[in-house]
C-alpha cells in the first residue's frame, strides 16, 4: 500500500468536505487514484476537463504515483 496525501480544490473540496486527506491506496496512476476516490470528489472520469499535479508539478492521468506523493486534484479551471 502507498501512503498518498490528496488535496481537493474548489468543487472537489466542497464535495469531499475537506481540503486534504492522507490515504492508503494500491492505485498505480493518478487516474487509478482519481477513480478510487470518486465517492469523495463525485466525478467519474477526469480526462479532458480535470487536471492533476504531483508535488506541485502538473502531471497527466497516466502518471505513476509513489508513496509520499502529494497529489492535487483540480476540477475544471475557470480563470479570467
Amino acid at each position: 500500500m502507498k501512503k498518498i496525501t490528496v488535496r481537493y480544490f474548489a468543487l472537489f473540496r466542497d464535495r469531499a468536505g475537506c481540503a486534504e486527506e492522507i490515504i492508503e491506496t494500491q492505485a498505480a496512476t493518478t487516474l487509478d487514484l482519481f477513480t478510487a476516490l470518486k465517492d469523495r470528489h463525485g466525478t467519474d472520469d477526469p480526462r479532458g476537463h480535470c487536471k492533476v499535479a504531483i508535488n506541485d508539478v502538473m502531471a497527466d492521468w497516466d502518471t505513476p504515483i509513489s508513496t509520499g506523493d502529494v497529489v492535487l486534484l483540480f476540477p475544471p479551471v475557470a480563470g479570467g
Partner: protein
C-alpha cells in the same frame, strides 16, 4: 516575476509603468472584468480560488513560451484571488513590442492560455441567492450535487 497573483485590487497604472521601455512602439492590454450576467443568470459577485504555487509557475511558463515565440519586448500578467464585486478587474495582461501586430497576438495568446491552464476556479453568486462553481457541470457525475453548476 512576470505572473503575479494578488488578493487586492489590480493597479493597472503601476503595471503599465513597469512596462515602460523606449524601444516599445505598442502596448496592448487585456482586462477581464466581472460582468453582471453569465449564461443567462444575473451575477452579483464572484470569488476566485487560486492555487498559487502552480498558478504562478504555469503563468510564468506561458509568458516565457509566448514571448519566445512572438517577437515582443516584454509581458506581464496579474490575476486576482478572493472576492470581487461587479465591475472589478479579475485579470490584467500587458504586452509591449516594437510593432503592434506582435503585441496584439501575444496578449491574446497569453490570456487564452491563462484561462485554460492556470489552477484557478471561480464561484459565482447570483441575484437569487444561489451560487455555483463555473465550468463544473461536467463533474456532476454522481447526482449528489449540493451546488448549482452550469456551463460558462
Amino acid at each position: 516575476m512576470r505572473m503575479q497573483i494578488t488578493d487586492t485590487a489590480i493597479d493597472t497604472r503601476a503595471l503599465q509603468d513597469q512596462l515602460a521601455d523606449h524601444r516599445a512602439g505598442a502596448l496592448v492590454t487585456f482586462e477581464g472584468w466581472i460582468r453582471n450576467h453569465n449564461e443567462g443568470r444575473d451575477v452579483t459577485a464572484l470569488e476566485y480560488e487560486v492555487y498559487k504555487p502552480l498558478a504562478i509557475s504555469e503563468g510564468e511558463a506561458i509568458i516565457q513560451s509566448v514571448t519566445t515565440e512572438i517577437d515582443v519586448i516584454d509581458a506581464l500578467a496579474v490575476h486576482r484571488e478572493g472576492y470581487l464585486d461587479l465591475g472589478g478587474c479579475a485579470v490584467w495582461v500587458g504586452v509591449i513590442s516594437a510593432h503592434r501586430d506582435e503585441a496584439f497576438r501575444a496578449c491574446r495568446r497569453i490570456i487564452d492560455d491563462i484561462k485554460v491552464r492556470l489552477p484557478i476556479w471561480k464561484k459565482e453568486f447570483y441575484v437569487d441567492g444561489d451560487s455555483g462553481w463555473v465550468n463544473c457541470e461536467r463533474c456532476a457525475a454522481h447526482g449528489h450535487e449540493h451546488h448549482h453548476h452550469h456551463r460558462s
